[in-house]
């Protein structure tokens, strides 16, 4: 009976929404009270005279399961790891947005997937615990084995996958040797980013695989300047988050309006302290203070989705076999 009551309560709640409804699938962190979702909803609804409804949870797996009958109009929060599969599904339509305002460190010409924020993989450390952080990726490999690292599993985490591609991009065919040198320093591998970062803040590890933007949270929200990203001259792997419009949307005008809204200054200004990432279309002087003082890499490494798809299995296998020794 309880279940029926729940269902009934919910049905009445959804029936009340107007016909001008835009349904957006988004990751959980995006729509939570600390994420940018609530403010973006408020700003967009003020200009569209519609009802924006977030649907948090899995993105691509859910859409692939639902197929053409998905009720999503737009999906936001996809990664480059899944764009190839998403594109081949034929479920997404061109975004039609002018890409000129983009301020990414790489060229972006994709007609389907529209970037809204980015960052780079980086090892983050605490200056009070690591006095001499490695100055390069090569130096990290040679660092003493009592430097404790925690990373994420490339088979269950996007940042973990970005790391194996990063190692592959820096060390090429010698990726496996690089992993063998890193292996003794890796305390453990976690399922996702949150667990790793928790271990790092609890003092279980000296450095954590995270993002170049992580220190900004500590600076802005906690007034703590002791967290830093170690910047390597070999370059850092580029991680971008994307939005896309569903081809089968029953509300194409509204979806287009939302896609255009993504690169607007209103939207972009919500990103830095909402999603703790760098806005994809906002000049640096408009970033919050804490972001402007971040150490960012000069060189950015990135594989196109086809290159990444070709390298992925091999890169994961190099990681797996080196760490399984």
């Amino acid at each position: 009976m309880k279940a029926l009551t729940f269902a009934a309560a919910f049905l009445t709640a959804t029936a009340a929404s107007a016909s001008g409804t835009l349904t957006v699938y988004a990751p959980d962190y995006f729509t939570s009270e600390w994420g940018p979702g609530p403010k973006i909803e408020e700003l967009f609804e003020a200009q569209c005279d519609c009802d924006l409804q977030w649907r948090p949870g899995d993105l691509l797996p859910r859409i692939l399961l639902e197929g053409a009958r998905t009720e999503a109009d737009v999906v936001i929060g996809l990664n480059t790891d899944v764009t190839k599969q998403a594109r081949e599904s034929g479920l997404f339509a061109p975004h039609g947005v002018d890409l000129a305002p983009l301020t990414l460190p790489i060229d972006w010409t994709d007609e389907v997937f529209l970037p809204f924020n980015y960052g780079h993989t980086a090892f983050v450390y605490d200056t009070t615990r690591v006095a001499n952080p490695p100055a390069s990726f090569a130096a990290l490999l040679e660092a003493p084995d009592d430097l404790r690292l925690v990373i994420q599993d490339p088979r269950s985490s996007i940042s973990g996958l970005a790391l194996v591609l990063w190692v592959r991009a820096v060390f090429g065919d010698e990726a496996q040797e690089a992993w063998a040198k890193l292996a003794p320093k890796i305390v453990t591998v976690t399922r996702g980013w949150s667990e790793s970062y928790g271990l790092f803040t609890d003092g279980e590890a000296d450095m954590v695989l995270s993002y170049t933007t992580s220190p900004a949270y500590h600076i802005i929200a906690e007034g703590d300047e002791t967290k830093k990203a170690a910047i390597f001259p070999e370059g850092h792997y580029f991680m971008v988050e994307l939005a896309a419009k569903l081809a089968g949307t029953d509300n194409p005008e509204l979806a287009d309006q939302f896609m255009a809204f993504i690169l607007s200054e209103d939207f972009q200004s919500m990103i830095a302290t909402g999603n703790w990432s760098i806005p994809a279309a906002l000049p640096k002087d408009k970033w919050p203070e804490g972001f402007q003082q971040l150490d960012l890499p000069e060189k950015v490494l990135f594989y196109s989705e086809d290159e990444a798809a070709g390298l992925r299995d091999e890169a994961i296998e190099a990681w797996r076999s080196a760490l399984s020794q």
Binding site: A7, A13, A183, V189, D202
Partner: protein, 502 residues
Amino acid sequence: MAQRTVAVIAATALAALTLGPVAAVLVRAEGLAALGPGDWQALRFTVCQALLSALFACILAVPVARALARRRFAGRGFLIALLGAPFILPVIVAVMGLLAVFGQNGLLNGALSALGLPRLDIYGLHGVVLAHVFFNLPLATRILLQGWLAIPAERLRLAASLGLTPRARFMVLEAPLILRLLPGAFAVIFVICLTSFAVALTLGGGPRATTVELAIYQAVRFDFDLGRAAALALMQLALGLGAGLVAWRLAQGAGFGAGLDRALPLTVAHGRACDTAWLVAAAGFLLLPLGLVVWRGLPGLAQLGPQTWAAAGHSVLLALASTALCLSWTLALAGARGALWSLMAIAISPLVLGTGLFLMLRPFVNPFSMALPVTALVNALMALPFALRIVAPEVEAIRADYGRLRATLRLTPMAWLRLVLLPRLRRPLGFAGGLVAALAMGDLGVIALFADPERATLPLQVYRLMGAYRMEAAAGAALLLLVLSFGLFWAFDRGGRAGAAA
């Protein structure tokens, strides 16, 4: 007979809810896909760690349960309840508590380095087993303790008046009890550890510690290879059922027969020091990490926003709904082989279950609107094996002991339920209800596919806080989760024991 019909319906629902989703995934995937070499490595590790974990948890549970059964001291009831806490703890919270004790910066390593001894490294197979023993020792202990407490006082008096030596007493009364209950406990723990994922990965130290569940996660969430996911899920299911069958074969044996429900006279004079040592050790091992979760969570409590409190409310409602559902299901299924078949419910990969249910429901309803009912149902399903494990042996014993009485008096099914079964099941039902409610509180289950946009659950909220860098608030929310899970468990368990002399 009505009772039989109910049992058949309950069993059909169980089979439909476990095998149905796998079938739905298989149909969608258009067949099974082949497994890679990494999958076989994962299978070996999974079985190995699950065997070791179940073995240690069961062996250690014997002296602990025995000490609890035969000692009386102030706060015993509270200690028994508290010792159950690790089992109902959400994984993410438990791992943090364990690391606060055994981790690099933990209490243990702090003490070791203060003494000038080398540090211990928790990460590896031993870390995985340690964590699983931490989770499951309470379960094994409680299963055994229930058995111990079910020994009728008359048998103990008889043993005392015959002047049995401690050894003889053990052989005559306790050993048969252990042999009857332990295989079941072993099987349940083995199956729980089979589907372990986050614990194994975090404490396992890397890809050596890959479990089948991780491979399924990768197949579903990353590769969208449903054929491989289904193949892995079936393998996991076969292993779980295999373990259940073996345990069921081993666990045959009669109970102790009926008694007059008199209060136990026992406190045994011998072995006091030994029992005390076991109790102190178990309490230290199980409660220290919990204490640290509480300690670390206190500062974060003040930072919890309205969304977190609302999530806590949803989780409690969800837990109560799951409990009502699960206990009805348990009573309906408590026949001879319900416990065995219900192992399917925990051997099935939650991810495949979620995906399958999504595929099954999708053509008929909007999965978003079904989020809470589906979550309540899945939680009830996942907790069913535990509830059955606790309740079914008691039902069987009651049937064996009072069946003749029932036949003689020609009790109607309702009268049997009301006058004999339910009053006698009060303690196990209370315990089972507490367990189900607490497990439902902590479960993330199928949330990823059936996320309710308006109503998050508390465990999800902990992850959200962590994902938003709010580690301190996450620790506070984790503490809230711990308190609520334990509170529900305590309330049910207490209700079940009210009026009982023990």
